[in-house]
Symmetry: C3
Subunit: 208 residues, 3 copies
């Protein structure tokens, strides 16, 4: 069982490292800069989570596999994805959506393992899911995805609630994870595909 969680965690790491590397490629960074941005995107959210709950040293210090997955992803990316026109459109958004789904579930699961409350589990899923991407976007001076009108934080919060509720009604961990991941992924991919958004909270005050 827990091997699956570990496998998902490494998958999420690879996918977010890829999204960081792609963002770095759009900014013409050198190979070590690519490694830095890929790492920050892949382990940023989980590092914030572990620092907040006091699970230190944080996960990637205790387990070198995370860094190795990031290095392997970046090297593969640098070697293979040289031809830009071979890159499918929206690849960065889709890699990011996949990472969001995987990391939301991992974050919620780690919180529940530590016997934290359901509300905290949802928040930890959100932090793990969106933290790395926010740091990536801040460093690249992009508007963080979480701030754009398309559904983003919502997808992670819904996934976290799905996971937490599924566990609370007694489902096994694997089923809960799959339900939560699919709900996050479907919401986020639909939002990307059809530019869905919730009604915005709109305050256009002239002066504040």
């Amino acid at each position: 069982m827990s091997q699956w969680i570990y496998f998902f965690d490494l998958c999420g790491t690879a996918v977010f490292a890829l999204s960081g590397a792609l963002a770095a490629g759009k900014h013409r960074m050198d190979p070590f800069g690519v490694i830095v941005l890929a790492s920050v995107t892949a382990i940023g959210g989980g590092s914030i989570r572990d620092a907040l709950i006091g699970a230190t040293p944080v996960f990637w210090i205790r387990d070198p596999n995370y860094m190795l997955v990031i290095l392997a992803t970046v090297i593969t990316c640098l070697v293979l994805v040289r031809k830009p026109h071979k890159l499918p459109p929206r690849s960065l958004s889709i890699a990011d959506a996949l990472g969001l789904a995987l990391f939301t579930v991992i974050g919620a699961e780690k919180a529940l393992l530590l016997e934290l409350s359901g509300m905290v589990a949802v928040v930890m899923g959100l932090i793990t899911g969106v933290g790395g991407g926010i740091i990536r976007d801040l460093l690249c001076r992009q508007i963080p995805m979480v701030l754009r009108t398309e559904i983003y934080a919502t997808a992670s919060i819904v996934g976290g609630i799905c996971y937490t509720l599924s566990i609370f009604v007694g489902m096994d961990s694997m089923t809960s994870m799959l339900i939560a991941m699919f709900s996050t992924l479907i919401i986020r991919l639909s939002a990307i595909r059809w530019h869905l958004s919730l009604p915005a909270f709109d305050l256009k005050t002239k002066r504040t």
Copy 2:
């Protein structure tokens, strides 16, 4: 006594959550994005403080009331403040000033409780007071208030020094808090009202 501190802390949380929600409203974010920005603003500074001093899990993980206050504030804000022209001008700056005063005192007080030095207490007041607002402004791609020429960090540092000195000369905690909060609030509100600023440190080098 300590109930008052707790009450002030929840007030500061509500006020900063409001300032985050108002900032989100200016960027047309969806309701879940509003919750994220309100939370980051309200608990960002205290989370950094707790992570730095090692008081983990950080405060809002141990006590669900902070998250509930944020949720209640955001929902109230979404429901009530629909009509933008009903929002008084400078409401974001004033909410921010009030949060700055409350959180500066809370941060300094927590440091002194842990028997850290007076200098560290002032710094912890500053981190608690300005941390959340800095993250809010970074995410919204605003120039962080702490960087603007108007007196901002100064108000928090003066408040922290007032609190620490008042405690050191033997005043009771409540009086010290009120003195410190009023000094921060008066300095900051005066700066907003009359656009006060200290003489700037101005380096206009052509090349660096």
Copy 3:
């Protein structure tokens, strides 16, 4: 021996505080804003490092000398560097390069003292070296140096690898430090002087 490491650490603190103060001067901040930016630059990287490895309370809370060095640096800077045309060109870049070299070695050394792996030591050197500067640049809304095409992260990673390898082949700590600092400094200063850069990873996709 360890006095030398401590001395280097305080030197790095002073140098990064100076780079933060110079950046603040370019943004016309008031004296307390200068202190905030100088502090964040000087202790930001090390604070992230200590929070991630769980060495809390972080170093500058336990040892007031770091804050005192920052205060002394800022006051000296405010008093002396009034005349902008007296400031040599590229002074910010050079102060930053020196801080990068000093802090990279300090970060790697602290990780090895805690018996963490060589790979983690290189990463901790990188975080300590570039963390403060990234926060400084984010707050000033500059493109973070680590994102620019000139060699930057590379210099820190090479320095970290040099230090870790030197220790592993049995050199004494002092020699390893000097080797690592000089390699970081020479790489970074050469990159500044001759605008060197590694071949960039360039992805110019029209749509992502």
